[in-house]
C-alpha cells in the first residue's frame, strides 16, 4: 500500500506579530517549524505502516529550504520524500496548492491513502485537504481522531464533530485529515537519521508534474490578500487587585452586567 503524507513548513507562531506602535510586522528571526498537525499525520501513516506494512512518502510544496522539514520527517521513519519547489508555485492560495499536490500525487501513481494535518497553524484554513481530495476525485474524512484499516479496500475512521463523534467507512483510495488524538509523533531515531541524511530528495517543478505556470502559484489562485493589519485592540484591560472578597464581587458584577449566559 502506498501512502502519501502532505506537510507544510510554517513560521513559528511566536515569530509573527504586528508591532503595536509602528503597526508593522515584526519578525524575530525566520525560524520555521513543521506544522504540528502534520506531524500527527506522519504518525498516523507510520502506525499503519507498522501494523500492515506500507510505503510512506512525505511531500511538501515550498521554497528550497523546505527540504529540511522533509529530512526531519524521513528521520522519523518515512520511506521517501518529494519536494515541490518552483518559483512559479509562489503565492499559491489553497486551490493552487491543492492543484500542485494533486498533480504530484498523480505522478507518484497508485496511491491508496493520503494523510494531511487537520489544518496548518499559519493559515488555519483546513481547506487544502478537502480540495486535494476533490481534485483527486477520492472520498475523504476530516477531523479524524482514529484510523483503522478494515480490510484491503476500506478504512474505518472516527471523526470529531462539533456535537460528538462519527464513525465512517471509506473505500480506498481516500484522504484523511487528522487531529492530535491519532497519537503523539515519534521522535527521530538514530538509524533513520543516518538514512535521512543520505537520502536524495527529488525536487519537482510545475513542469515536472505537468502543470503550466498559469495553473499554479499566484497566477493559478482565486484569492488574493489585499490588506494585512493589526487585530483591533481590545478595550482597556481591567486589572482586579486587592482583597479576594472584593475581587470576587467585582468580577461577579462585571460578568452579570455583561450578561454572560449561565449567570
Amino acid at each position: 500500500m502506498k501512502i502519501v503524507v502532505c506537510i507544510k513548513q510554517v513560521p513559528d507562531a511566536k515569530n509573527v506579530r504586528i508591532d503595536p506602535h509602528t503597526h508593522t510586522l515584526v519578525r524575530q528571526g525566520v525560524e520555521s517549524i513543521i506544522n504540528p498537525f502534520d506531524l500527527f499525520a506522519v504518525e498516523a501513516a507510520l502506525r499503519l505502516k507498522d501494523r500492515h506494512g506500507a510505503h510512506v512518502t512525505v511531500m511538501t510544496m515550498g521554497p528550497p529550504q523546505a527540504e529540511e522539514a522533509l529530512r526531519d520527517v524521513l528521520s522519523r521513519g518515512v520511506d521517501d520524500a518529494v519536494l515541490l519547489s518552483d518559483r512559479a508555485f509562489a503565492g499559491a492560495d489553497t486551490w493552487a496548492t491543492a492543484t500542485a499536490l494533486a498533480a504530484a500525487i498523480r505522478k507518484l501513481g497508485d496511491v491508496s491513502l493520503v494523510f494531511c494535518g487537520k489544518q496548518a497553524v499559519d493559515g488555519d484554513t483546513a481547506q487544502v485537504g478537502p480540495e486535494l481530495a476533490t481534485l483527486l476525485d477520492i472520498p475523504y474524512a476530516t477531523f479524524v481522531k482514529q484510523v483503522e484499516l478494515e480490510d484491503e479496500g476500506h478504512l474505518r475512521v472516527v471523526r470529531k464533530t462539533d456535537e460528538g463523534t462519527e464513525v465512517w467507512r471509506l473505500p480506498l483510495p481516500a484522504l484523511v485529515t487528522v487531529l492530535r488524538d491519532v497519537g503523539d509523533p515519534r521522535l527521530p531515531s538514530v538509524k533513520h537519521k543516518m538514512r535521512a541524511k543520505k537520502a536524495t530528495v527529488p525536487v519537482w517543478s510545475a513542469a515536472d508534474v505537468g502543470l503550466p505556470e498559469d495553473r499554479v502559484g499566484l497566477k493559478g489562485s482565486f484569492t488574493q490578500v489585499v490588506r494585512l493589519f493589526s487585530p483591533p485592540k481590545r478595550a482597556d484591560r481591567w486589572m482586579l487587585e486587592g482583597p479576594v472578597a472584593d475581587q470576587v464581587e467585582k468580577l461577579y458584577q462585571y460578568l452579570k452586567e455583561a450578561k454572560v449566559p449561565g449567570l
Binding site: E163, S221, L228
Partner: protein
C-alpha cells in the same frame, strides 16, 4: 513572480525591508529591490505608507459571465431536527451584504423532514429559502451535501455564498469551492462590499496575530466561511418564499458510509459550541484541584477547557485542549485559571469576547489578552468565586 515596486512612489525608507519575513527586500540606494526569494506573501504591501508596493494579479477563475451571478446566499446548517444558530448569524450578514448590493438574499437548507425549519429562516431576512429535503441528507456526508449545494449554485448562480466555519462547513465547503472552481476564504470575522462590488473577506492569520483582508476577483461565487458567534442574528421578517427543489437521485450518492453518529453526552466537552468555557492550567498543581474548574463550568452550564500542560499532566482529556494543537474557541466568556498564557494557548482562545484570567503572577502573558485580569492566589479566589456564583443575585 514577485512583489512589484513602483519606482515613482518608493522613497527608499526601508520599512518593507524590515517586515519581509523571508528577507527578500533590500534597499540599496534610491528604491527597494525585491529578490527571487519573494514568496508573494503580501506582508510588505500594506506596511508601505506610500502605496509603492503591489502584488501581481491573481489569474484564476476568469468567468466570462461574472455578471450573470447575482444575489447573496447563506448555507443554513441543519443538525438533526434543528437549524443551528450560526445559520441565523450568517443570514443576517448575508441580508446586510445583499442590501448593500441591492440584490436578493437567500438561504439554502439541506436535510430531512424540514417542515418548520424553512419558515424560521424567513424571519431572519431571507427573500427565498431553497429547500432540498431528502432521506439521504439525514446524516451529513461531504459528498452528498456538496453535490446538492453545487447543483443549486450552478442553476441559480449567486455571486456570494456564506457558510458557518463549523465542523460541517469547514469540512464540505472546500469541496464545494473546488467543484465550482472558485476561491474560498476560511473563518472570516468581518465581511463587507468594496467600492467595486467585491466581497471583502477579513480573517485572522498567523494564529490571530495578524488580520488579512482577502478578495476573490474573478471566481464566482465568492465563498467564505464565517466563525460562529461573530455576526449578530437579527430578526427581520420578510414576505419571503420557500422553494422546494427536487434534484436527480445520483446527486445524493456517496462513497462514504456513515456507520455511527454518537452525540457527545458530556456537554462540558463541547468546546466549539459552548458560550462559556472555564479553562485550567498548570497553576492548579494537581488533578483534584482541576475539579474546581469543572464545578465552575457546570455552574455556568459551560464547557471545560485545558491548557496543553494540564492535558499532559492527565488532568483533562485531550479533547478539552485549547490552543494551537487543540481547539480554537471563541465563546462569550473564556476564563483562564492558572494558565500563564503561552502563545500556543493564546492563539486558540484570543477570539473570545470576554477573557477573564486568574493568575498570581501579574506579569503572566495571559493578562495581555485578558479583558479582566484577576491577580490572586487561585486557591483562595476560585472557591470564593464559586460560592458567589452559587449564591447568585
Amino acid at each position: 513572480m514577485k512583489a512589484l515596486i513602483d519606482l515613482e512612489k518608493c522613497t527608499a525608507c526601508g520599512v518593507c525591508q524590515d517586515v519581509c519575513p523571508v528577507g527578500a527586500i533590500s534597499v540599496p540606494e534610491t528604491h527597494a529591490v525585491v529578490s527571487d526569494d519573494c514568496t508573494l506573501c503580501g506582508m510588505c504591501v500594506d506596511t508601505c505608507e506610500f502605496q509603492a508596493i503591489r502584488l501581481p494579479d491573481v489569474g484564476a477563475g476568469v468567468v466570462s459571465d461574472a455578471a450573470a451571478y447575482r444575489g447573496v446566499w447563506a448555507f443554513a446548517e441543519w443538525r438533526r431536527g434543528t437549524v443551528h444558530r450560526v445559520s441565523y448569524e450568517l443570514l443576517s450578514a448575508a441580508r446586510r451584504l445583499a442590501d448593500k448590493k441591492g440584490v436578493e438574499c437567500a438561504a439554502v437548507l439541506l436535510g430531512e423532514n424540514l417542515s418548520s425549519a424553512a419558515e424560521e429562516l424567513l424571519r431572519y431576512g431571507a427573500d427565498v429559502v431553497y429547500v432540498v429535503d431528502h432521506p439521504a441528507l439525514k446524516d451529513f456526508t461531504d459528498e452528498a451535501y456538496s453535490r446538492c449545494l453545487v447543483e443549486l449554485v450552478r442553476d441559480k448562480k449567486p455571486e456570494i455564498l456564506l457558510a458557518g466555519a463549523t465542523s460541517m462547513g469547514r469540512s464540505f465547503i472546500p469541496r464545494v469551492a473546488a467543484m465550482l472552481q472558485t476561491g474560498l476564504t476560511a473563518d472570516c470575522t468581518d465581511l463587507d462590499i468594496s467600492e467595486d462590488g467585491l466581497l471583502l473577506q477579513t480573517r485572522p492569520a498567523f494564529g490571530g496575530n495578524v488580520m488579512a483582508t482577502i478578495i476573490c476577483p474573478y471566481g464566482r461565487p465568492q465563498m467564505a466561511t464565517v466563525r460562529p458567534r461573530v455576526m449578530r442574528p437579527e430578526i427581520q421578517p420578510r414576505n419571503g418564499r420557500i422553494q422546494r427543489v427536487a434534484l436527480p437521485e445520483d446527486v445524493f450518492r456517496t462513497r462514504v458510509q456513515v456507520l455511527e453518529v454518537i452525540p457527545e453526552e458530556d456537554t462540558t466537552a463541547r468546546l466549539s459550541e459552548a458560550e462559556v468555557i472555564i479553562s485550567g492550567g498548570r497553576g492548579l498543581q494537581k488533578a483534584e484541584n482541576f475539579r474546581m474548574v469543572e464545578e465552575l463550568a457546570r455552574l455556568f452550564k459551560g464547557a471545560v477547557g485545558a491548557s496543553r500542560s494540564a492535558v499532559e499532566e492527565g488532568w483533562a482529556p485531550v479533547s478539552h485542549q485549547v490552543g494551537q494543537t487543540g481547539q480554537t474557541v471563541s465563546p462569550t466568556l473564556y476564563m483562564a485559571i492558572g494558565i500563564s498564557g503561552a502563545i500556543q494557548h493564546i492563539v486558540g482562545m484570543q477570539g473570545s469576547k470576554i477573557i477573564v484570567a486568574v493568575n498570581k503572577d501579574p506579569e503572566a502573558p495571559i493578562f495581555d489578552v485578558a479583558t479582566c485580569g484577576v491577580v490572586a492566589d487561585l486557591f483562595e479566589f476560585v472557591p470564593a468565586f464559586i460560592e458567589r456564583v452559587k449564591r447568585a443575585g
